[in-house]
Structure formats: structure tokens, C-alpha cells
């Protein structure tokens, strides 16, 4: 019991520490791809530090929901992260929820984020909320079907069990069903984390924003919490991909000695996935909003093919 609590604390701290790093890495890599220097890998930490020290401006039209939203966004993302295997195949809080709980916890965060966008009465907030809920709703079937394919392979929705099965079969990721499911989940990752071609994380042009539009009125520590929550959510989705499909370096139990090696391998896997994301972001233009459903339909088709190929191969 105390061991499990300790594991949870360690993983929580790792989630807090690694998530800004990944965001910084993606931004820097993207800048390099565009032959810019970029602000440096550590910039997200500096941003957090700065924002937490600042004061806040609360819109006069906002209700208590506006203040509750940052906490919910942060805590749902962090709790989802504790249900995933990170360094070890056994997730610290795996008993409390598997892949369905992760998906629904992220949904809870999104629900309140969208309400927070509507709460201020600004048209931009409503615009962001409307688009976010639309896109996430269309992402959901592709995500679930891909997740089901993975879960059926392990005959469990427990993420620890999924990782354990994957560890047992090192070359499984080249099976057609796994590759198709990976491709589907990759599109889901792009859509859920608001990256090009679905949303542009760097934009501040009001009419094209989705995520940014919802949080336009947030400032100071609240903004920091929401941003941190969004980075953790991105890390959670990336962990879902890397540890379900490339389970290398995952330890069977929890031991401090192997933790450093596991962490090193994990960071390399995350860096590789970040590379894929950056490649997609720099080689594509942002889509028109009404072209996004086609992309998500393609993801759904990929997931359906993955499912069919589970018993063809």
C-alpha cells in the first residue's frame, strides 16, 4: 500500500517534470526545422515560473466555474497520467482505472475547459468551445476503436496488462493490426493535442484558434495550471502510444536502480514520437475546420482496418 503510494508520488513528479520538457523539445525542434533558433528547450519551465508569480485578471462576467476549471483540467490530466505505465509495466494507479478511465478523465477536463470558455461571455471563448467539442466528439470513435483493437489484443482494458502483453511480444508492433492502430492513434494524438493540421498551437489569430480561444481570458497562475494540464495531457497521450506499441525499457516491477535506464529509454522514445509530430507539423498546412472531419474519418477507417486485421493475420 505504501509502496503503491510512493510509486504514484514518483510518477506524479515525473509527469510534472517531463511534460514541459517535451513541449519545449517539440517547439525547439520545430524551430530548427523552420531554420529558426527557437527559445530553448527550457522555456516552458520559465513560462510556468513567470506565470505562477504573476497576479490574475478575472473577467467581471465570470462565475465560480471559471476559477474551478484550471484545477479540474490539471487534476484530470495528472490522474490520467497515474493510470498509465511510465517506467514500469505496472501503472501506479492501474487498479483505479484503465484506458477507458483515461479517455473519460480527459473528457471531464475538456468538458470544464469548454464551459470555462463559455463562462466569460466573449465570442472567442464560445467559438473555441464549440470547435473543441465538435472535433473531440469526432475524434472519439477513432480513438475508441483503436484502443479497442489494442485492448482486444491483450484481452483487457488495463493499461498495465496491455503493456505486459506488449513486452512479451517484442516484435508485435510490426503486425498490420498494430501498425494501423498506431497510425489511427497518431492522428488522434494530433487532433487531441491541438496540433497542425487540426489546430495551430502557436497561433494568436483569433479566428483560427481552438484551444487558445477557450483560454483567452485566463492569466497568471490559472493560465499556468491550464497550460501545465494541457502539457500533461499531451504527455499522457504520447505515453499511451509509446508504451502500448514500443514497450522497450519498461521494467517489470519498480526498482530504483533500473529507473534511470528506463527513464533514459522513455525519453528517447518520446523524442522519436515528438520528431514524428514535428515532421507532420512542419510539412503540413493547417486545414480548414470543415476538412478536419475527413482526416478524422480517415483515422476511424484506419482503426476499423486494424480491427479487421486482428483476425486476418
Amino acid at each position: 500500500m505504501t509502496e503503491a503510494a510512493l510509486e504514484a508520488v514518483v510518477q506524479f513528479l515525473l509527469l510534472l517534470a517531463v511534460s514541459p520538457l517535451i513541449t519545449g523539445f517539440i517547439r525547439t525542434l520545430k524551430a530548427r526545422f523552420q531554420t529558426r533558433r527557437g527559445p530553448g528547450v527550457l522555456q516552458p519551465y520559465r513560462d510556468l515560473h513567470k506565470l505562477f508569480r504573476k497576479g490574475m485578471v478575472i473577467p467581471e462576467t465570470a462565475s465560480w466555474l471559471f476559477a474551478a476549471t484550471p484545477y479540474i483540467v490539471f487534476s484530470t490530466a495528472a490522474l490520467a497520467g497515474l493510470m498509465l505505465p511510465m517506467l514500469s509495466t505496472s501503472a501506479p494507479l492501474g487498479l483505479f482505472g484503465g484506458v477507458l478511465a483515461v479517455v473519460y478523465l480527459l473528457g471531464l477536463g475538456r468538458f470544464f475547459l469548454a464551459l470555462g470558455g463559455l463562462d466569460t461571455g466573449s465570442s472567442f471563448g464560445g467559438l473555441g468551445s464549440s470547435r473543441e467539442m465538435t472535433i473531440s466528439a469526432l475524434t472519439e470513435p477513432a480513438m475508441m476503436l483503436a484502443v479497442f483493437t489494442v485492448a482486444i489484443g491483450a484481452s483487457s482494458t488495463s493499461l498495465s496488462e496491455i503493456a505486459r502483453v506488449a513486452v512479451g511480444q517484442q516484435w508485435r508492433f510490426v503486425a498490420p493490426s498494430q501498425m494501423l492502430a498506431f497510425a489511427a492513434l497518431f492522428v488522434v494524438l494530433i487532433a487531441e493535442t491541438g496540433r497542425i493540421p487540426v489546430d495551430n498551437p502557436a497561433t494568436h489569430l483569433e479566428l483560427t484558434m481552438i484551444h487558445e480561444a477557450m483560454i483567452l481570458e485566463y492569466s497568471g497562475p490559472y493560465l499556468a495550471l491550464i497550460e501545465w494540464g494541457a502539457w500533461i495531457k499531451q504527455l499522457v497521450l504520447m505515453l499511451l502510444l509509446v508504451n502500448s506499441f514500443w514497450p522497450y525499457g519498461l521494467q517489470a516491477g519498480w526498482s530504483l536502480a533500473d529507473a534511470a535506464a528506463s527513464l533514459g529509454i522513455l525519453l528517447m522514445k518520446l523524442a522519436a514520437l515528438s520528431g514524428c509530430i514535428v515532421l507532420v507539423e512542419t510539412t503540413n498546412a493547417k486545414m480548414r475546420l470543415f476538412r478536419v472531419p475527413e482526416l478524422l474519418a480517415a483515422a476511424f477507417t484506419l482503426a476499423a482496418l486494424a480491427l479487421v486485421s486482428t483476425f486476418l493475420f
Binding site: S63, A78, G97, L115, G121, S129, A151, I152, L307
Partner: protein, 677 residues
């Protein structure tokens, strides 16, 4: 006879009867009628709750005859686990709706209104109680018919409005179409078994010849489906539920439609026996389609109560997804999985009853305060109706399936059943399960989008009309009614593991197994899918950890004091007004365009200008979607029926001689038919 249930049950019925009688007796004194009829309804609900709870734990189900009846037909009552479960759901809803009604009807326009409403309200509760408890087909159909008529009178209560009269008529016609189908099905079954007793129908359907069995199953499914509001026989539901008084809408959407679900559960898991594969497939497909189409139409509604009514169709779809999976698993011989899927469906039945009742009561408070059902005229109500807003938000989160509330638990169980279904067979049919799961995910995500709209536009930001500006919080009794249901949403979510043993007797009766012990994991802390390696989830731990993880940044990083209130960014215009806000129409616009093939939207913009089209003086915007089912399915049927009636009118010449001739011919034909048989 056995235990305390019969006495409590009969006393509850008596309370409802007295409540109806008192309402009529005091019809000219609205205040006294309101207090008397709803106090007695509350007492009846409390007694029925006790009776159902006592019967749930009782091994041979208590069965007895009511002390009245007519020759040949007995008013037999049996509280078996299934009946007691639905009776419990009804009693919880009846209690909270009755508490709510005290305040809701206080400002009802005087006259006989409150008394008549109290009469029909008690009649509805009485008949519903008997629908769930009747133990023979005759009594069941009698109670069913009284329920339909009481519901009709309640739907048509504000009959001064044309909309209400149309909705009431549509409800009555469709309801009777459904009852007709049930009558035929019951008669076939009664002929085959030589009795009207439900006990004699047990496992009887699978013994019928295949062709008859198919017809009987379809009649039952469609007949109960009309009441439940499955697609495509749902059109009465979004018309009838919103026009009723809100306390009645809450009962209608919460539990009256569940009478259809109860009927299906009774037929599929009691009368049927070994189900053929096609019925499970049909129920699953209808469930998934109803869920998706229900939520898609809900998204386009700006009438708060109509939006909720469409969500009832969606949730009936989710319930039937569970039932369909249970039927399929039984056909494939996986009894434990069938029990899991049945539990998922039945749990969602109770959960939906509770949060839908809560949401309709919340909508009633809003209606009470703003005198409109149009969301575009609301806004800012979270400051004016803080308690109502909080309860509505709880219901909205529960119906969107968000953890740790009750909707999440039943949806999670449904997903687990569907996922396990993939391994039950080697044929291609197994692809059905994950695809149904993916569509269920789409349905749930669209429901979340819809409730962001419903809550956000109704309660958040600035008020969009004077009525919303002046809105006042609901009286204490209304808030209390909602509080009970909101608490139930939390308790049934967090305490799901402890509630599940309730289903053991039901699944034992339907499938011969009780699986609740295999659904608990981690020393009763977490819920399990029942398979050794399957998934687990713990709503209680999720709730606790979310609080803990939220408290952490609040304590560590967020400093007090350094916050100022400022205006919202309005692009430099002079101040933010309600006109700047996003509307419900705008919110659902992306989905309206994406699913244009279903909605066939039409819009019209007319701008008036004086100097240049770039400076309009007035803009008129009109947008509507095509009601496809009404237009493409029901209008042709209606036209044919009317045309046929027109032709038949030739016979109705009004001449008494002609009528005498008809009677004579009919008599002769009947005699000939009788002589031959």
C-alpha cells in the same frame, strides 16, 4: 403473501388513491389540493420504496391478489426482483418530483389547475406502480392503458396552446398503436400457454413455432419500443415531453418511458428463454442507432426541454445496447457475459431515470424563473439561480458519462461487455461489438458537446433577455427535490460496487447466475469487468484523487490576494454585451454542417440597408433543419391513412337504414364464422 412488502405496497397504493381523491375533493381550493395530493403522493412513494426494497431481498418473490377485481380476472401482484427494481426507481423519482411539486405549483395560475394536476399525477404514479408489479397480462394491460390515459391528460394539461393539443393527440395515437401490438402479442402467448399469468409465460416464447415466435418478438419489441421512444417510433416523445408541466416531464422522461424498457426486460429475459441470434442483433442495432440519432437531433435543439427529450431517446439507445449485447451473449452461450451486459443496461436504466429527472426538474426551475424554454433568451443564470445551476451541472456531467458520476459507471460496464463480446464467437458478427462500442463513444462525446451547450448557453455569461436578467432562485422545496437526485447521481457513481449486489437476484432469475462478487476488485474499492485479466475502475478513488490533486496546486502554487477583476476582451468595442455572446445556434453550427446529410439544414438571411449593403440597418436570419422522420416516414403514412379514411366515408352516409344493413350483414357473417368453427 410474505414479509412486510404486501402491506407496505398496498398502503402505498392506498396513499396514491387517497391523493387522487383528495385532489378531486379539494379541486376548488388549489392550495389545499396541492398540499394534500402531493403529501399523499410523497407518502405513497415512501411506502412503495420500502416495499420494493423489502421485496428485493426476499427469496421467493412475494405475490398476492389485490383485494378487488372482477369475475374471471384477478388483480394479481408479484414483486419479483425485476419488478421491485423498477418499482424502486419509480419510488425514488416519485418522491423527489413530489417534493419539487410543492414549490413548483405554488404559483400555478389559480382555479382548478393544481387539483386536477394532483389527480392525474397520483393516477399516473398508481398505474405505473401497477404496471411494474402486475402479474398477469390482463391486469398489466389495464394498468398500461390507465398509465397512457393519465399521461395523455398530463401532457395535454395546458391545452389552450395548439402545440400542446397536437402533441397530446400524437402521443395518444402512437401509444395506442403500441398497445394494440402488445395486445396481439399477449393474446398469442396466452393462447399458447392457456393462461394469462406471467408465471405461465416463463420461457414460453422460445417454445412457439419459429414464424409465430418471430412475429410475437417483433410485436413486443415494437409495442414496448413506442413507449420507450426507440427510433423510428420516437416522434411523439420530443413533442409530448416538453409541453407537459415540468414535474410531469421529469416523470415522463425519467420513468414512464422505462415502462417500455421494463416490458422488454420482462419479455426478453423472462418470457423468451433461449433467444434467436437475430433479436439480439436487432436490439443492439436499434440501440446504437437510437443513441446516435437521438443525440444528433438533441444537438440542434434550442428549446431546453425538447433537447432533454431527445437525450431520452439517446439514453434508451444506450440501455438497449446493453440489452442487445445480453441477448446476443445468451444466444452464443456466454451466460456470465450476458449477466454483465444486462446489469449494464439495467444500471443505466436507473441512472438515466435519476439524472434525466434531475435535468427536467432543473429545466423546470429555469422555466419557472424565466418563463421561456428558448435557450437563446437565457444566460447568466448561474448567478441568479446558483443552486439550480449546480444541480443541473451535476446532472449534465452525469448524463455526459463523466467520472466519477453514475452515468460513467453504467457506460463503463456497457463498454466492458461489448469489448468482451469480441471473444465470444469466431464469426464475423463479432466485429459488431467493437463497432457498437465506437459508436457508443461517439454518442457519449456528442452528448458531452450537447450539454456543454445546454449548460453553457443557459447558465453562463450574460443574460440575453430581460426575463433572464430578473430571474430568481427556485423555492426551497424545488431545490430539495433536485438535491436528492443530485446526491443520488454521486452516490450511485461512487458507491457502484456496493450497489451491484442488487442485481444478483435479477440475473439469477434471468440467467441463473449472480455475478456481483466477481465485479468487485481491490477489496471492494474498485469495479471489475468480471474477467480475470479484465479492466478495473474505481469511481470512489477517482473522486478522492481528483480532490487531492486539485487541492495540491491550490495550496502550493496559487497565491491569494493578487487578483483583480477586469473587463473581457471585446476587440476594443465599447463594452461587452449579450449580443457579443456565442449563441446555441452558433455553438452547434459546425456539427450542423458536418452532419448536413442528416439534418438537411436550410437558412435564409435578409439584410435591409439604406446606403450600402455593408451597413445593414436590420438583419433577419432564419435557420431550420428538416425533421426527416416526420417528413419522410410519417407524413406519407398520415396521407395514406387520411386518403383511406376519405374513401371509407362513403359507407358512413348517415342513413340509419344503411347502418341497420351493416349490422345485419356483420351478424350473419359472424354466425357463419361461428358455425364453421
Amino acid at each position: 403473501m410474505g414479509g412486510a412488502s404486501p402491506i407496505l405496497f398496498n398502503a402505498g397504493l392506498l396513499a396514491y388513491v387517497l391523493g387522487a381523491a383528495a385532489a378531486l375533493a379539494l379541486v376548488w381550493r388549489p392550495d389545499a389540493a396541492r398540499l394534500a395530493s402531493f403529501s399523499l403522493a410523497l407518502a405513497g412513494a415512501a411506502l412503495e420504496m420500502a416495499a420494493s426494497a423489502a421485496a428485493l431481498a426476499k427469496a421467493p418473490p412475494p405475490a398476492w391478489n389485490l383485494p378487488c377485481g372482477v369475475a374471471l380476472f384477478s388483480f394479481g401482484v408479484r414483486l419479483d426482483p425485476l419488478s421491485a427494481y423498477f418499482g424502486l426507481a419509480l419510488a425514488v423519482l416519485a418522491a423527489s418530483a413530489s417534493i419539487y411539486s410543492f414549490g413548483y405549483l405554488r404559483r400555478w395560475p389559480g382555479g382548478t389547475g393544481a387539483g386536477l394536476l394532483g389527480f392525474f399525477y397520483n393516477a399516473l404514479l398508481l398505474s405505473l406502480t401497477l404496471v411494474f408489479a402486475a402479474s398477469n397480462a390482463f391486469f398489466f394491460l389495464l394498468a398500461w392503458e390507465v398509465m397512457a390515459l393519465a399521461a395523455y391528460c398530463l401532457v395535454s394539461f395546458e391545452h389552450e396552446k395548439q402545440e400542446t393539443r397536437n402533441a397530446g393527440t400524437l402521443f395518444l395515437i402512437m401509444s395506442h398503436g403500441g398497445t394494440g401490438m402488445l395486445l396481439i402479442a399477449f393474446l398469442v402467448l396466452a393462447t399458447a400457454s392457456g393462461s394469462l399469468e406471467f408465471a405461465d409465460f416463463h420461457l414460453r416464447i422460445s417454445a412457439l413455432p419459429p414464424a409465430v415466435r418471430t412475429v410475437v418478438l417483433l410485436l413486443f419489441f415494437l409495442g414496448f419500443g413506442v413507449k420507450a421512444g426507440i427510433i423510428p417510433v420516437h416522434v411523439w416523445l420530443p413533442a409530448a415531453h416538453p409541453v407537459a408541466p415540468s414535474n410531469v416531464s421529469a416523470l415522463m422522461s425519467g420513468i414512464v418511458i422505462k415502462a417500455g424498457i421494463y416490458g422488454m426486460a420482462r419479455v426478453f429475459f423472462d418470457f423468451l428463454g433461449e433467444p434467436p441470434l437475430w433479436i439480439g442483433t436487432l436490439v443492439l442495432a436499434v440501440g446504437v442507432v437510437s443513441g446516435l440519432i437521438g443525440v444528433l437531433y438533441a444537438l440542434m435543439e434550442h428549446d431546453l426541454k425538447r433537447l432533454l427529450a431527445y437525450h431520452s431517446i439517446e439514453n434508451i439507445g444506450i440501455i438497449l445496447t446493453g440489452f442487445g449485447a445480453a441477448l446476443l451473449f445468451r444466444s452464443l452461450g456466454h451466460v456470465n457475459l450476458a449477466a454483465l451486459a444486462l446489469i449494464a443496461g439495467l444500471y443505466h436504466t436507473l441512472n438515466h431515470a435519476i439524472f434525466k429527472c434531475l435535468l427536467f426538474l432543473g429545466a423546470g426551475s429555469v422555466l419557472h424563473a424565466t418563463h421561456t424554454r428558448n435557450m437563446e433568451e437565457m444566460g447568466g443564470l448561474i448567478r441568479r439561480l446558483p443552486a439550480t445551476a449546480f444541480f443541473f451541472l451535476t446532472g449534465a456531467a452525469a448524463i455526459s458519462g463523466l467520472p466519477p458520476l453514475n452515468g460513467f459507471v453504467s457506460e463503463w460496464l456497457t463498454y466492458q461487455a461489448l469489448l468482451a463480446g469480441f471473444g465470444t464467437t469466431q464469426s464475423l458478427t463479432r466485429l459488431m461489438f467493437p463497432v457498437a462500442g465506437a459508436l457508443l463513444a461517439l454518442t457519449a462525446a456528442l452528448a458531452a458537446a450537447c450539454f456543454v451547450k445546454a449548460f453553457g448557453i443557459t447558465f453562463l455569461a450574460l443574460p440575453r433577455s430581460g426575463e433572464a436578467e430578473r430571474a430568481r432562485e427556485a423555492p426551497t422545496s424545488m431545490r430539495l427535490g433536485m438535491a436528492v437526485l443530485a446526491a443520488a447521481c454521486v452516490v450511485l457513481g461512487i458507491g457502484a460496487v456496493w450497489f451491484l449486489p442488487v442485481f444478483d437476484p435479477i440475473t439469477a432469475q434471468a440467467m441463473g447466475v449472480g455475478i456481483s462478487s466477481s465485479l468487485a476488485a481491490g477489496g471492494g474499492l474498485a469495479l471489475s469487468a468480471g474477467t480475470p485479466r479484465g479492466g478495473t475502475v474505481s469511481p470512489a478513488a477517482i473522486a478522492g484523487l481528483l480532490l487531492l490533486l486539485s487541492a495540491l496546486p491550490a495550496v502550493l502554487w496559487i497565491r491569494r490576494g493578487r487578483r483583480v477583476t477586469g473587463p473581457v476582451w471585446d476587440c476594443g468595442l465599447p463594452g461587452l454585451t449579450a449580443a457579443n455572446e456565442y449563441t446555441a445556434t452558433a455553438f452547434s453550427k459546425p456539427l450542423r454542417m458536418i452532419f448536413a446529410a442528416l439534418y438537411r439544414p436550410r437558412r435564409e438571411i435578409q439584410a435591409e440597408f439604406e446606403v450600402s449593403p455593408y451597413y445593414p440597418t436590420a438583419i433577419r436570419f432564419e435557420s431550420e433543419i428538416e425533421p426527416s422522420f416526420e417528413k419522410r416516414l410519417y407524413d406519407p403514412i398520415k396521407d395514406r391513412v387520411l386518403a383511406a379514411a376519405g374513401r371509407m366515408r362513403v359507407m358512413q352516409a348517415g342513413s340509419i337504414h344503411a347502418y341497420l344493413a351493416y349490422i345485419f350483414v356483420a351478424l350473419v357473417l359472424l354466425l357463419l364464422f361461428g358455425a364453421r368453427g
